[in-house]
Structure formats: structure tokens, C-alpha cells
Subunit: 348 residues, 2 copies
């Protein structure tokens, strides 16, 4: 089969690789219908983190089940399925607590030694605990819903998780730091699903700001750092916002998050702190903040969100502004890295 | 009147000072019945932080109202009152959010330029928003309840707040870092008020460990650092505790807190980070932690806690293991600094 392969920083190819096959009785093999490139894929592409040459790429995909192992009971060949970006057994203590991204038997698609979503097919471990079948299957749903189902595999649920961690509730005032697909989906989740009254997006890119407004942001602030904090304070009578979604993960974004949260406010952080920011605890202590963080347990949200996509009440698929065939995945990486695309969808 | 005065690190005297008087129509003057020495008073006594020579001391006191300003309506002369360690108007936005320790018109007793609790009388600003009258007054309650009422002014409510911030609820497993009066009161609050199933106290002092057990700690761990974390993991099947109360505020105590919290767990931090620890965000991000922090808004808890002391269901006064007359306050500081006393009570 064909699949995207990481060669070096800046170089992604599509190569012939061994077919995806069942290894364990709890596995499924899924033929990919749509996949995409993630902002986090760019960390290695830009050389910020290391990735082994020859490793497979992509952790976001939806597809049709081709084959299941003997122990799999909840999905069957022919099912259209949505996969979270990490597999999980959904039965271990962490999974039962709703933190499937710390499953005792979990892992990430595209990690070295596994199949990636950016390919023709994927071996899915722990299929019962991982995959959600879409009622009606591929033949039973409108093709226009596929982008939104695909978005659920990571960015839509991650943005929503950020808003949940930030304590967003009906009537909240929320600031979102990060105008990538996750930040934009945090706007959408805060507004459409959690009932936030006012969402302020930090963005200095016209296309992203426009989508942020379409997703429900009342205000867009282009300033960063102290100027960005000052702009938030001016919009909120000098007090700051009750909830901040931190969807970047750098020292600069953390400093902004702490500076714009009101007394007793909350920060929900879903931006992986790859650059290991050190947080000076005194300012958030003085401000009585609550800081909740972690890689979004997408699986927790999927059953609910699949239903919302199917009934038309949640449409995060609008984050995709470029669609390419798998063979042109390299252009997808380049377009996202150059910020010519917010998020790029791939069709096998 | 007589009051404790800070002279220099290691030197506290009792001097003649100007009588406490009404300054604003919202003031009350309270004659002190009981006061005490706080662990946080020791920061300056030990020279860790600076304090102006000649400044007054003490932020914990209960007393009888002697005089009120024209605008005061909720307390009257003769009332026995409990004062939180900071005054607050209880009407500003932060107060309405229950964060009275960030009141727009608040302040701390004993801060330079104010009266301290370690004296014969105190001018209380914002009396209506600050003081809680004890039903029955001094004549109507058993004198044995005075220590517990006094403990409410800071340590009992601060310990409880730490447990609240740590998300303690019925059935929780909790670890408490810090075996001073605040940590001990966190044990008591977690067990008696919030219904924790199992509380583990980190303590290496026999007297404090014994009181911790009396307050409901099921286990006491003497090890610190990595060994302390290992001991917690061994007690919890390798997973760690759902809730950690951080009642110290040093880099070492924070590292322990992060290391012993289970996936998806919570840290409630009430230890002022005077030594400004820097928190590496990656470990708590990986562990999906929620960290809530701040100086306890004691006023929020007082109405409920006064009732619990009066009905006998909450007795934090057992933290006092030494009682001295005001004139011997220097010995109180020395005894607490040398860890000969957990907490020292003063009678005017």
C-alpha cells in the first residue's frame, strides 16, 4: 500500500510500504477514507523535535473497517469509523476516568513502528476501545459531513477539551490563545457546545480570524505579549477573562494566558509544551488561578460529537481549507508550514 | 495599648502603641480576646522576607466589638466576632466570586501601617464585609470553643480551602504536603467536612503526625522527595492520589505534589510560593493535572464554619499546643520557629 513517510526535516514522501494487517485479536484494519495533516506533525517537519527517518506519518483519519480480529465485537467490516488520534482499551483505570490518552494499553498512530493515518490503510490496535462506528455507514451519510467527522479525530475534540478544562460554561467570557485549527475549534466548542457568551480570539492572520468569527468569536485581537494582555483587559473592564484556552504551548503563550485571566479564573491548556516552558508560580497564585492541562482524551468526546455532526449541529470541518490526494501530501505539509493552509485534508 | 512589634529578624517585642481608633465610618474597633502566631509570621522572623522595623504583627484574632463607625450595620458593640486575616468589603466583583483575598478594598491585618492581631485591640476596616458575629456572644459560649473559633481566622479555613482546591470530595484519596497547622487542618477539613475516604499526611515530626492521625489521617509518611513520592505510589497501587494539598510553597514541595498526583488528579496549593518556585509544565501536562491555587479567602468559609464550631462538629482548635499571655509573644515566636510548638495562642 501507499503511505506518507518522514524522511527528514522538510521532506515527506509517499512510498510503497507493507500492507496494514491484523497482528492481535483485538486489532482492526481500516481503509482510510479521509486523513489530514496536524499542526503537531509540523514540529518534526520544521526540525523542532526529532523523528526517525522512515517512520510513518499522520494520526487523524476516518475510514471503513476492512477486517477485524477474533476478539473485536463492536465494529465489523464495512463500518464507517472515526478513530481518535490515540488508541485505547477504554477499560483501564485512566480510561475509566476519561483520560484515554493515558491508557495503560494505548499508543499514538504514526508513532515509530505503527501505521500512520496518512496512508491507504491503518492497523488499529484495541479496536473495541478505540473506534466509533458512524450509524448509516459511508453509503448512508452525506459526503459533505466527512470533513467534520475527520475533524473530530483530533482538533475539534482537542479544542473542545481546552474549553472544558478552562471551565467554560453558559455565559462565560473566554479568550483563546492560538489561531490554528485547535484554537479555532476551541472557539466553536466554547460557543456552540458550552454556551460561552463572549469568545475573544488572539489572531493575526486574516483567514484564521475570519474563520474564528464564523465559529462565533465576538472579538479578534492581533496584539501579542503585554500588548495582547492590555487589549484583553481593556475589553473586560480591567479584570480579565474567566476562562483562557491555551492552544500553543510556548513560554510566550503561557505568559499571556496567566496575564489575561481574571482573579479566580481558569486556564485550560491543550498545547503540548514541547519547548518546556517554566511557569513562575507566584503570578497565578496571586491571581487564584486554576490551571488544567493535558493531551485531549478525544475518545471521551467522540460518541457525543459524532451524533452532533450527523444532526448538523456541529460543523468543525470548516477548518479544512485545502484538499489534496494522498500522493501530494508533501504539498500539504508545505502549505501548512507556510501558513497558506489552516488545515489540509487528504483523500486516499 | 500594648501590642507586639517587629524589631528585626529574631526579635519581637511588646510595646506601648497608639490605641486602635475608628478612622472611617466603615471601621470597627475590636478588643482582642485571643490571637495567635502564624507560620507565615515566621518568614520575616527567620529573615526569609523583609518586614519594616516597628511594624505591628499578627493577622489572626477574635474579639469583642468596642466601637463601630456610623456606616456599620451588621455588628455592634459587645458582639463577639471572628475576623478573617484579611479585611474585605464583600461586595466587589472578586468578593462576589468568593475571592475575598483579592478584594478591591481589602488588606491584611499586621501589614505596615495597620493594627496587628497580636495586640490589645485592632481597628478593623470594612467591618460589615469582614467580621462575623458569634451568636450568643462571649458570655453565651463555652470558653473551650475559643481556640477553634480562633483557628477559623486562618489555618482551619486555609487548610479546608486547600482541600477544596484539590477537588476533595466524598470518597477521595488525598495526600497533604506540609504538617504545620494549615496542613493538619487540611487533613481535618478533608476528612470531617468533605468526606475524604483516605488522607495521607507527609510528616516527620511525632507531635504533628500524632495530631494528623487524631484529625483523621490514615497514613503518615516521613520520607521526602523521590522517596516520599515512591511511598505514596506504593500505598496507591502505583497510580498516585486523586488530590494533593500543597501547604508549603517551596520548589521541593511542588515537585513532590506533581510526582504523587495520579493521572487526571488535582493539586490544591495554599502555601505561598515565597521562594518563587518555577514549575516545569511538561510533567503536570503529561499527567493531566489540574492545579488550583491562591491565598485562602477565609471570609467565604466563615459563616458556615462558625456554626460548625458552635455545634461541636468541627474542632480545629486542637492545633494550639501552647498558650501564652501577649506579653510573652516573643517566646511564642521562638517556640514555633524551633518547632517546639505547632501553633501558639495568645491571650490579651
Amino acid at each position: 500500500m501507499r503511505a506518507a513517510v518522514y524522511q527528514a526535516a522538510g521532506t515527506v514522501t509517499v512510498d510503497d510500504v507493507p500492507d496494514a494487517t491484523l497482528t492481535e485479536p483485538t486489532d482492526a484494519v481500516v481503509r482510510v477514507v479521509r486523513a489530514c495533516v496536524c499542526g503537531s506533525d509540523l514540529w518534526a517537519y520544521r526540525g523542532v523535535i526529532n523523528r526517525p527517518a522512515g517512520s510513518r506519518l499522520g494520526h487523524e483519519f476516518i475510514g471503513v473497517v476492512e477486517e477485524v480480529g477474533a476478539a473485536v465485537t463492536t465494529v465489523r467490516p464495512g463500518d464507517l469509523v472515526v478513530a481518535p488520534f490515540q488508541w485505547s482499551d477504554n477499560t483501564c483505570p485512566a480510561c475509566r476516568d476519561g483520560i484515554q490518552t493515558r491508557c495503560d494499553n494505548g499508543g499514538t498512530f504514526g508513532a515509530p513502528g505503527t501505521d500512520g493515518g496518512q496512508g491507504e490503510a491503518v492497523r488499529v490496535p484495541q479496536a473495541d476501545g478505540t473506534l466509533i462506528a458512524v450509524p448509516g455507514g459511508l453509503a448512508g451519510i452525506d459526503e459533505s459531513l466527512l470533513p467534520s467527522l475527520l475533524a473530530l479525530t483530533d482538533v475539534a475534540a482537542t479544542g473542545l477539551h481546552g474549553a472544558v478544562l478552562a471551565g467554560v460554561e453558559r455565559g462565560s467570557t473566554v479568550a483563546v490563545i492560538g489561531d490554528g485549527a485547535v484554537g479555532l475549534c476551541a472557539v466553536l466548542g466554547a460557543r456552540q457546545l458550552l454556551g460561552a457568551e463572549r469568545v475573544i480570539l488572539m489572531s493575526r492572520h486574516d483567514d484564521r480570524a475570519a474563520l474564528g468569527r464564523a465559529f462565533g468569536a465576538a472579538d479578534v485581537i492581533a496584539e501579542r505579549g503585554e500588548a495582547g494582555i492590555a487589549a484583553i483587559l481593556e475589553l473586560t473592564g480591567g479584570r480579565g477573562v474567566a476562562s483562557v484556552v491555551e492552544a500553543v504551548g510556548t513560554p510566550e503563550s503561557w505568559a499571556m494566558a496567566v496575564g489575561m485571566a481574571r482573579v479566580g479564573g481558569s486556564i485550560g491548556a491543550v498545547g503540548v509544551p514541547h519547548t518546556t516552558p517554566q511557569l513562575d508560580l507566584f503570578p497565578p497564585f496571586r491571581q487564584h488561578l486554576t490551571i488544567s492541562m493535558g493531551i485531549a482524551p478525544v475518545r471521551r468526546y467522540l460518541p457525543d460529537l459524532v451524533g452532533r455532526v450527523l444532526d448538523g449541529s456541529f460543523d468543525p470541518g470548516r477548518v479544512f481549507d485545502l484538499a489534496l490526494p494522498l500522493e501530494q501530501v508533501a504539498e500539504g505539509y508545505a502549505a501548512m508550514s507556510d501558513r497558506r493552509s489552516i488545515k489540509t485534508m487528504l483523500a486516499a
